[in-house]
């Protein structure tokens, strides 16, 4: 009977102790522990959500990157093509210009050569005339010193003319 008869003393002390345990643990143990666990769970859930979102964003970014790269490559090709074309045009133009310039220069050179030649010719002619005149004068002076001889010559000339 003793085994199953509750004792007032023990019930009293048990109520007191267990009540205190409930109060103390509620305030100093369960509150911080449960709130920390809750926070951690929220943190982990948030982290998982974030990582999923980041993965998705990364995948999107990857796709965008690929697209951009492709576009860039196309653009670059286009630009290179354009540049090649442009450069050809420029080169052609330059060549044309060069040719024209060259032609002009040659033309000018020709003109100037021609003018030079003309001048030179004129000078040479002048020189020749001068020389001829000089020579003639000298010959004539010489000839006219000997009148007789001249007369003979003149007569001969006259004869020739008459003969003609």
């Amino acid at each position: 009977m003793e085994l199953v008869t509750p004792g007032i003393g023990l019930i009293f002390w048990m109520t007191l102790s267990f009540g205190l345990v409930l109060f103390i643990l509620r305030k100093f143990a369960w509150k911080p522990i449960l709130s920390t666990i809750k926070e951690r769970e929220a943190y982990i859930a948030g982290s998982i959500r974030d990582s999923k979102r980041i993965q998705r964003e990364l995948a999107e970014l990857d796709a965008t990157k690929e697209k951009l790269l492709l576009q860039a490559r196309e653009k670059a090709d286009e630009l290179i093509q354009q540049a090649k074309k442009d450069s050809e045009v420029v080169i052609q133009k330059a060549q044309q210009q060069a040719r024209e310039d060259a032609a002009k220069i040659v033309e000018a050179a020709k003109k100037s050569i021609f003018a030079e030649r003309k001048a030179a010719e004129r000078e040479i002619r002048q020189q020749i005339v001068n020389l001829t005149v000089d020579m003639t004068r000298r010959v004539l002076r010489d000839e006219f010193s000997d009148i007789g001889k001249n007369n003979q010559y003149v007569e001969k000339l006259l004869e020739d003319i008459q003969l003609n």
Binding site: M1, V4, G9, L10, W13, G19, L25, F28, I33
Partner: protein, 378 residues
């Protein structure tokens, strides 16, 4: 995972966290030898010339006014505990060693050796033996072995869990639990997710959770301490009907403190039941009302019976050695290995029971709470 920049502090903290863990582990390891520590019933042998297994077992299971530790020859080594009595308007305080282990009376009181008050303090006549036939009620608030054990275990439990809580507040939510908290946290999550959340509506769990956790850890801790054979364990706290009754009364009070209208409606006007069962003879309300009081009684008896039975079986196997030893040394020696094997087996079983009974008590409390706060719309 380490918090950057403070490894020293961290290390120190983990050491602190581990001290209770090591302590607990030591208790768990040592309990397996409790058999040998408790087998010193030399006293009974001498007095009766034989070994009274029933008396030894009951003495070990019952509450006591002193804490018996060991016998050495004729000397009893025990811790005297305070006796507090209130009798006829007067308080009496003294220590239990004045009773000389129940042999003497002190201030007109003694521990009853037989009768229906056996083991309790009774008023005796001047001769110190005869019970006073005119004695009025004695309010006995003595700090008995169980009460003292409750003080110790409650303090230990508070210290343990508060030190765990401190690691939580120190380390914050961004670190995995370790040390003792790694041991405690699965239990907390078990109580929260598998007991409380499975029985109580989601939005009302939080108000019951601290109570359920305290209840679970108190019972589990005391069950384990009860398996430790020597001081400060060994008291049969959760196998004491006063203790289990108090626990279930706490559950009962908490339940009716939080119970909502729906709960009372369910009792006095059970929905879905034909009217003739409620009126004119209120059959259903009476049954439901009985159920209200049966619940704590069932809780009380289940825990008490399970723990007491476990202790009895273990002590029975130990006693077997001495019962057979009394008929011949060889018999005693022959049976002892078998007994020890059975006792070890039972101790492991009791470890399991220690957990299961804490679980069952908490789970039923949670179910009753769930019944007390049903959702308003049905």
């Amino acid at each position: 995972m380490k918090v950057k920049g403070k490894p020293d502090k961290d290390h120190f903290r983990s050491m602190i966290c581990n001290i209770p863990g090591v302590f607990l582990a030591m208790l768990l390891i040592l309990f397996t030898v409790n058999v040998f520590a408790e087998t010193s019933p030399a006293e009974q042998k001498k007095e009766k010339g034989g070994f009274d297994a029933g008396k030894v077992i009951i003495d070990h299971i019952l509450d006591a006014y002193d804490w018996h530790i060991a016998d050495y020859g004729d000397t009893h080594i025990s811790i005297p505990l305070p006796v507090i009595l209130f009798y006829e308007g007067k308080w009496y305080f003294f220590f239990s060693h004045k009773f000389h282990h129940g042999k003497d009376a002190y201030k007109g009181f003694r521990i009853a050796g037989d009768g229906h008050k056996k083991g309790r303090i009774i008023k005796v006549l001047d001769d110190g033996i005869t019970p006073d036939p005119n004695a009025s009620f004695i309010l006995d608030l003595s700090i008995t072995k169980n009460a003292f054990s409750i003080f110790i275990s409650a303090s230990l439990l508070c210290w343990l869990l508060i030190s765990v809580a401190r690691t939580y507040t120190h380390c914050g939510p961004k670190r995995a639990p370790r040390g003792l908290s790694a041991f405690i946290e699965p239990l907390i999550l078990f109580v929260r997710d598998d007991l409380a959340r499975s029985a109580i509506p989601e939005d009302k769990v939080d108000r019951f959770l601290p109570y359920l956790l305290s209840l679970f850890f108190f019972i589990f801790f005391n069950n384990l301490l009860g398996l430790v054979p020597f001081f400060p364990g060994g008291a049969n706290v959760t196998g004491s009907i006063s203790v289990t009754l108090t626990l279930s009364l706490f559950t009962f009070m908490t339940l009716h403190l939080f119970a909502n209208k729906e709960y009372w409606k369910h009792i006095f006007n059970t929905p879905g039941v034909p009217v003739w069962l409620k009126f004119p003879i209120p059959l259903m309300p009476v049954i439901e009302l009985v159920g209200v009081f049966v619940k704590p009684i069932v809780l009380t008896l289940r825990l008490f019976a399970n723990i007491t039975a476990g202790h009895m079986i273990i002590l029975g196997f130990v006693s077997l050695i001495f019962v057979l030893g009394a008929s011949g040394t060889i018999m005693g020696l022959a049976i002892s290995p078998l007994s020890v094997i059975f006792v070890i087996f039972m101790n492991f079983l009791e470890l399991l029971v220690a957990f299961i009974q804490a679980y069952v008590f908490t789970f039923f409390s949670a179910i009753f709470f769930g019944m007390a706060v049903p959702d308003e719309h049905h």
